[in-house]
């Protein structure tokens, strides 16, 4: 029975998403969204999450905004020839049923000029904007 595995995986990930109190809009989910607590006065922070497209359409992330930061940009840390640098990404396409991990050392939301000092346990809202017009609000938790 070839259809079983994907269905089970789909069901399982749905259950996991619900359990994680995920943000969801039109089949797009963000799970485990967090910001690393930054040193006092830091001008730059990073946001991480697992972004999941459970819709049958590709979803293209084109921007992110937040009232808590001066600017939010989609970035990716790239290590080339032993040197780390950041490249700005103007958009990311999520294929149907694909998950993209924003994680340390890889894709991240670069959060500049926080409006207030963020401490462990704080929650901030970041709005992810997709080309389709979809806007997904995601609550990021500040962690150590």
């Amino acid at each position: 029975m070839k259809w079983r595995a994907p269905v089970l995986v789909g069901m399982l990930s749905s259950v996991l998403s619900l359990a994680a109190a995920a943000s969801e809009a039109a089949g797009v989910f963000a799970r485990d969204a967090w910001i690393r607590e930054a040193p006092p006065g830091a001008a730059m922070l990073a946001g991480y999450m697992a972004l999941q497209n459970q819709s049958s359409q590709p979803q293209v992330l084109v921007a992110a905004k937040s009232p808590s930061f001066g600017a939010v940009m989609i970035h990716r840390t790239i290590v080339k020839d032993g040197m780390a640098g950041m490249s700005h990404t103007s958009q990311i396409e999520l294929a149907p049923n694909a998950t993209l991990n924003f994680s340390p050392g890889g894709y991240h939301l670069m959060l500049s000029n926080p409006r207030r000092a963020l401490r462990v346990g704080d929650r901030v809202e970041i709005y992810l904007e997709f080309r389709s017009g979809l806007v997904l609000p995601v609550a990021f938790e500040v962690r150590k």
Binding site: P39, M44, M83, G105
Partner: protein, 224 residues
Amino acid sequence: MYLGPVKQASLKIGILTAIVTLAALAAVWLAATYRESDSQARLLPDRVMTVFPAPQPLTAFALTDHQNRGFDLSRLRGRWSFLFFGFTHCPDICPTTLADMARVREDTAKSTAGAEDVQFVFVSVDPGRDTASRLGQYVAHFHPTFLGVTGDDAQLRNLAGQLGAAYQVEAAPGVENYPVYHAAAVFLVDPQARYRAVFTPPLDAEVISRRFDVLRKLEGPGAQ
């Protein structure tokens, strides 16, 4: 072919000498191989850490720490030093690596050897923005004992060059958030101020702690 009794005897001696020499060489080779594979088995089961068989003694450099004290070769003697190059306007890899280093320090403090003779040094390659006070605030967030150091470009190039830590600052007039590229590795300098090992990403604090502990044990007491 008949060689005569004298020639036959010398041929026998020659063959005997060759066999003895070969056996001796084989023994030396086996011993060397065994030693090498033994140390590799204990230190390099993965690609996290590369230990240099011939540690490179560092030469003089002059930087300044976050308390405006000179940071030179003497500050590396008598203790192990983990060095990481970065800048404070770095949202992802620098805080991630410093958080990893804080975990390594915690693990090391719990080990029998302790963390008394271990220091963690964040070298900012962006002295234009990273003042001493800014660096101090930044590193203290990760651990109160962490050191922030920086200096002019010539001195940064000096130390970075000795460790093979490439970096590039693309500062431009009027640009606030200019890009900075820097080595992603963590460098380990031994208590004799020799470049001893390098940890390459993806970094894993727990694995780094374990490898470091083994290296220190192999070194034995009196490594200073």
